[in-house]
Symmetry: C2
Subunit: 199 residues, 2 copies
Amino acid sequence: MKKRIITVSRQFGSGGHSIAQAVAERLGIPFYDNQLITEVAKQSGLSEDFIRENEEYASHSSSFLYQLAMSTAGTYGYPSVYQKLYEAQTKVIQDLAEKESCVIVGRCADYILRDRGDCLHIFIHADNEHRSKHILEKYGPTDKTTAQRIKDKDNRRRNYYRFHTDRDWGVATNYHLSLDSGVLGEETCVEIILKAMED
Amino acid sequence: MKKRIITVSRQFGSGGHSIAQAVAERLGIPFYDNQLITEVAKQSGLSEDFIRENEEYASHSSSFLYQLAMSTAGTYGYPSVYQKLYEAQTKVIQDLAEKESCVIVGRCADYILRDRGDCLHIFIHADNEHRSKHILEKYGPTDKTTAQRIKDKDNRRRNYYRFHTDRDWGVATNYHLSLDSGVLGEETCVEIILKAMED
């Protein structure tokens, strides 16, 4: 089936955001990464600030409190605020896919849209040397080493993905195309994705 | 660094062999899959029949006897025949990489050549429906279901890879490019690999 939606999962510092944005520009279709926050806020009634702090990258998404909030939600007959956030995100992503061709970054979109035949699911990764360089250039230094920042983000995304999808993050068979942006270069990644969309 | 060697790891029934062969033809460079058996026989003194039965796909590579043969080899101060086979395979692959541009299928070549900067490491996979169809077309039916044949081969290759590399088979970060041949189609996979080799 002809593909019209692209989901991009990416390691922190792999340049996945820029690659996804360039693909959307070249195809002339909307690009959703942080833009989703506004939509999720409208859908859920939660504040944009809360969503920004607690969506995919939430530092406590793998914490005991988060797990407890998720697991006890059903017990008390109401969804926790985290569950509400995930459900709103799911609804926004499903509605976007229904409405228009687009590129969606992160947020388990590959899993949420797994049953659609019109999606191309992509994973972007790179080795730690490339990621460290990219992180310093894009976000600057912090009091943590880049190795620690990479480890923290990888753990958070892995836990978040595992929690919501019951699949392992970064396993090749979850995606139609996985690319090492450090070795291939960002421009070649863009061209490969466009080639994959041609058919 | 300019790439001149391609390693292709592939799921059984994904068409990885055909894709790798087509890439080698298009690049005009040698292709090594079963051809490696003759070289390994020369290197090791083992018979081609023994190698064919006991290399990568060995039905007992995950068995207790195989594990025992591998683990006790050092204890008694001589390499087991399985270790000898793996060492010969490693030597043949390293020598080929040193000698010429080529495409090498399977046999942990991605791991064996991991420290070279001139290799492009590829993983080809597909969903079970596509693989079943491909297996029946290429190898015909047997007394086992295609689902069982897929499961057996996956387990063997996963165990073999895990045993020799201490890495998990099919994890995207082990490869520079992972492709779903069922969704992308074999010809597009070939073109994507050629594109990745251009830079």
